[in-house]
């Protein structure tokens, strides 16, 4: 198994596939975060938006992300866009829901303080709402990340599009279990690295700054 991973790494296929997958992930996940956070804030702050969108968001959240693939293929063909669409749909709603929870959970006295100090508009959203909800938003982003990663792998497995998923199905076609397991290991490693290193670090930093943990 090590040999086959080594082989893949040596001829550059592993690197290229990883770069390809991560590139897609960053794009898709970026879109999810950029749309999901404002959507979550809007759902928490506006009764109208909440009434209109919340049932749909909660309902669609129950749909496994790969179920979006047939629709994506119908709309966008067997293209990059189709995979991005699946990644976005897989993580957007989780980010939105966690952000909504985070914003609804803000200590009301902070909102009142902002009101009495006359903090309005963009300054209020960027300076009070977002930072106050940040611990909750980060949880959502973390969840969204793992959903996006899964959706991406599922998408890449289902049609030839390059990336780690394709390396997996290639291994299967070649009846090379070692390659399959090696690539699986890489996928786990990347997932864990981002989850446990990047997000964990951010989370600890934020919780410490916000005074949510004991500082010893």
């Amino acid at each position: 198994m090590t040999a086959s991973v080594g082989r893949l790494a040596a001829d550059g296929r592993l690197g290229a596939a990883t770069a390809r997958s991560l590139g897609r992930l960053v794009q898709g996940y970026g879109i999810s975060a950029a749309l999901g956070v404002p959507l979550g804030i809007a759902m928490a702050r506006s009764l109208l938006v909440q009434r209109a969108l919340r049932p749909a968001v909660l309902g669609l959240q129950a749909l496994p992300s790969i179920c979006w693939l047939p629709l994506a293929v119908l709309w966008f063909g067997l293209s990059e866009t189709a995979i991005l669409f699946v990644v976005v749909m897989g993580s957007l709603l989780a980010v939105a829901i966690a952000t909504e929870d985070g914003v609804s959970g803000i200590d009301p006295v902070l909102l009142r303080a902002a009101g009495t100090l006359g903090i309005h508009g963009p300054r209020f959203v960027a300076g009070v709402l977002l930072p106050a909800a940040l611990p909750g938003i980060l949880t959502g982003l973390k969840l969204g990340w793992s959903f996006a990663w899964r959706a991406l792998m599922a998408g890449e497995l289902l049609f030839v599009a390059g990336g780690l998923g394709q390396l997996l199905s290639q291994g299967r076609e070649l009846l090379d279990a070692a390659q399959v397991m090696g690539v699986m290991l890489c996928i786990v490693a990347i997932g864990v690295a981002v989850d446990q290193v990047l997000f964990r670090l951010l989370e600890v930093r934020i919780r410490r700054r916000w005074g949510l943990v004991e500082v010893s």
Binding site: A113, G115, L117, G118, R209, W210
Partner: protein, 335 residues
Amino acid sequence: MRPRAGRPSHIPGFRAGRQAHGIAHSLRMWTELLARLLGRPVRGRLVPHPARLGPPKIDVFRVGHRFANRVVALRDVNVAVHSGEFVCLVGPSGCGKTTLLYALAGHIAPSGGRISVDGVQVTGPGPDRLLVFQEPALFPWLTVRQNLVFALRSRGLGRAEADARAREYVHLVHLDGFEDTLPHQLSGGMRMRVQLARALAMDPAVLLMDEPFAALDAQTRSHMHELLQRIWTRDRKTVVFVTHDVREALVLGDRVVVMAARPGRVLHDLEVHLPRPRDPDDPALVEMSRLVREELRRAERAAAEAAAPGEAPDATRPPDDGAPRRSAPALGAPL
């Protein structure tokens, strides 16, 4: 309220006369002296607040509030605060002091009555009023200085200006050296002082303060009293100050509004006639605070009797609660 007879050192005229600032003071001194010479009983320094002429700065008119859980936090509250006045609200825990302050600040809409500031009905928070919360209410992700700067910048101050002002007010509340500390690294009393600094730095015309000094030791508290009074006299602010501590109210206030609970209402609206600066250990002040506390205890006893089973007149009250009623509260009744 009357001071005991035979205590000449408590006669207001003499003290007030020594530091009289204006015609009003000397007039009062002479009338009181005259009254004394003619053998009539001398009015105390705590007198029912007479209705003042002219439009008030803050007008609380027949305000009632009932929360969604049917708790009547306020009933038929009438208070008029004139510009530049320092009014203290005292009353037992749960009598609606915070609720009234929230209504003044525009954070809740009272379910009955009308609150106006400068003749304009209050419908929400406004830049003319600033509430100092019972909790520290600091932004936890910002340092002490950033908390002030952020608020000041939202008022349109430039970066340098806001920074200088923040530094100045942090110094005024005796927190030098803590500028770059996060709120959760401060003690409760220090956090309240940061909030006070933020409020004072914002320089509002009306300051609404909810027990800002409850968590402070006597020494720091008296420093904060001095600071607050200095700024109040310098900038002619209108202050509504809530406290549990009757003596604190008497040290700070031009007026002391005594409230009672269940339902929250005004019992007395008293004017404090004592020269400033006032000493919390001044026997006259101590005596006044004893009388006010006695009054509070009496109200509490009456409420307890009313709530006792079998004789519950509370149940016979009209269920309108928040709605204004005809009968005025015992404003100005002598204690």
